[in-house]
């Protein structure tokens, strides 16, 4: 059963249309990420689901009910804001109780019990009587999360919920979010611009590009089999190489070198997407040759920048392959790791 159905959602601000018809169905209990660069309309879409923004066209259904015309308070949702939006005049416990009080859920004792449970879930029981201003950023974040889950809404909306945290806290919170989602099974729509976050947290990723769905699917699908150049570049920063596919699984690259590709690739012009970590570099092995322009040692990995007959490539190796910058190296790719994309009409600016 679907908990959230969006049909033909369009949104214009003045004359600029920022969402050009979004259709999607989100299954009950799933964790779905809306992923995209800033300005792609992902937050606007979330706000439309919340009812904070009115769609110019289209339908929003929550649990089978058309809520397009309903104000936010009449929708069975809760939302966690990037800035947390904790009410500064209320204590932590009162903040968490707020949605229960406003929605009239339960009597005083039931509310207190649910607040205690929600605070326990985010491990903040000891801070119930503090004011939000007396908490650290990470703690405030967890209060906001407790407040968002306490009313067990049909749809939980998270707007860049982890973006304001530093890297370590963020990883902790990601694990905590997964845990809480597993425990409560709330249908969750998570807006983020961070591809790693989207891939690691969600059952399904909806990739938005310029107000359109570029691709939607499981994290594995979207990572392994990008359908557009945008998807390939955005999720995992793949190299995109224009090529001419010939018969019997050979691609001719811009400089005239040949690269083996799977035999079932359609002949003709194409754009080949090769992930950074799938390029295998060696000083004198097999493969096409490219010049190593620069490399950065990063501990467990080394990042390389290569020049393939005037085309810039990026590669990522484990450890230190022991190559010298400025020299010509060999590149090999497992043909099965190459994704075929339709040829780009014009080159994207780097």
């Amino acid at each position: 059963m679907a908990d959230l159905t969006l049909t033909g959602i369009r949104k214009s601000f003045g004359r600029t249309e920022v969402l050009h018809g979004i259709d999607t169905v989100i299954e009950k209990g799933s964790f779905v990420s809306l992923l995209g660069a800033s300005g792609c309309g992902k937050s606007t879409l979330l706000r439309i689901v919340a009812g904070l923004e009115t769609a110019s066209a289209g339908r929003v259904e929550i649990a089978g009910q058309d809520v397009t015309a309903l104000p936010p308070e009449a929708r069975d949702i809760s939302m966690m804001f990037q800035s947390y939006a904790l009410l500064p005049h209320l204590s932590v416990a009162e903040n968490v109780r707020f949605p229960l009080r406003m929605r009239g859920i339960g009597n005083r004792e039931e509310q207190a019990a649910r607040v205690a449970e929600a605070l326990e879930t985010v491990q903040l029981s000891a801070f119930a009587n503090r004011k939000p201003s007396q908490l650290s950023g990470g703690q405030q974040q967890r209060v906001a999360l407790a407040r968002a889950i306490v009313s067990t809404p049909k749809v939980l909306l998270l707007d860049e919920a982890l973006s304001n945290l530093d890297a370590r806290l963020r990883e902790d919170m990601q694990l905590e979010l997964i845990e809480i989602h597993r425990k409560l099974g709330l249908t969750t729509l998570f807006v983020t611009h961070d591809q790693d976050e989207a891939l690691s947290l969600s059952d399904r990723v909806i990739l938005l590009d310029g107000g359109r769905v570029a691709q939607a699917g499981s994290p594995e699908e979207i990572y392994e089999a990008p359908q557009t150049a945008f998807a390939a570049e955005f999720l995992g920063a793949a190299n995109l190489i224009p090529a001419e596919i010939g018969p019997r699984g050979t691609a001719t690259l811009p400089g005239g070198q040949h690269l083996p590709v799977p035999e079932n690739m359609p002949e003709g012009p194409a754009l080949l997407a090769i992930r950074q970590e799938d390029l295998v570099l060696s000083a004198g092995g097999k493969g096409i040759s490219a010049r190593l322009k620069a490399q950065v040692f990063m501990g467990s990995r080394t990042r390389h920048v290569l020049d393939l007959d005037g085309h810039r490539l990026r590669a990522l190796s484990l450890g230190r392959p022991g190559l010298v910058a400025g020299e010509t190296v060999r590149l090999a790719v497992d043909p099965d790791r190459i994704a075929w994309l339709p040829p780009a009409p014009t080159d994207r600016p780097e």
């Binding site: 904070l52 936010p72 009410l87 005049h89 009313s151």
Partner: protein, 273 residues
Amino acid sequence: MTDRRENLLLLAPGLALLALAFILPIFRMLALSVQGEDGLTGAHFARFLGDPFYLGVLWRTVRLSLLITLICAVLGFPFAYIMARARPRLRTLLLIIVILPLMTSVVVRTFGWMVILSRNGILPEMLRDLGLAGRSFQLMRTETAIVLGMVQVLMPFMVLSILGVLARLDQRLEEAARTMGCSFLGALRHVVLPLSMPGIAVGAVLCFTLSASSFVTPNLLGGTRVQMLAASIYRAVTQTLDWNFAAAQSVILLVGILLVMAPYIVSQGRRHG
């Protein structure tokens, strides 16, 4: 150390002016209020507090000031809210509207009210024509006239005080409240109103103090029959020439205002301390 001395030096002119024009007269006033024919006396205070007429004047001053403050808050809060959420151009327009009364002389403005409120003025005539008021109905020289005139002058103080707080209020708090089940009015009531309390408090202290001590508007709109304390002090100074009694009334007014401000000052001290 020199820094400190320089700072004191910079403070000196202001302090000197305050001492000369404010602190000195206040002490003079305090001295006058307890000065009798032979030494110290509480007779002037006793006279004031023992006379139902003067107690009536005091009570009216307190009552009307509270009423004026309340009306300013009730009208000023939505006004300030709309200003805070309006687009820049509309906000400027509203700002001009709200501070316009302060830009005209108090006498001109009050005569404007006299024209509107007098027996044959626009407002009473309209009310009579609509059958909402009897033939003998009149607004001039009533408490209503004072309240109307004072609310108009004091509104900007309330609106601007609240606006200062609302402008800094994160709009997402309201949105968050909406997603947690508050209607628009519910969000105002449970989020915006409690968070604008500091602004309302500042505005209320300003409105109350200014209306309790105002003289021109109540005097012109209320006349001699409906007196407020400032007018009564003025009469004691200029007509009965009883300066000691005037000083006693002034001390009562000053103490009253300090009492009203005390909770505010204490709460501010606690916040910063």
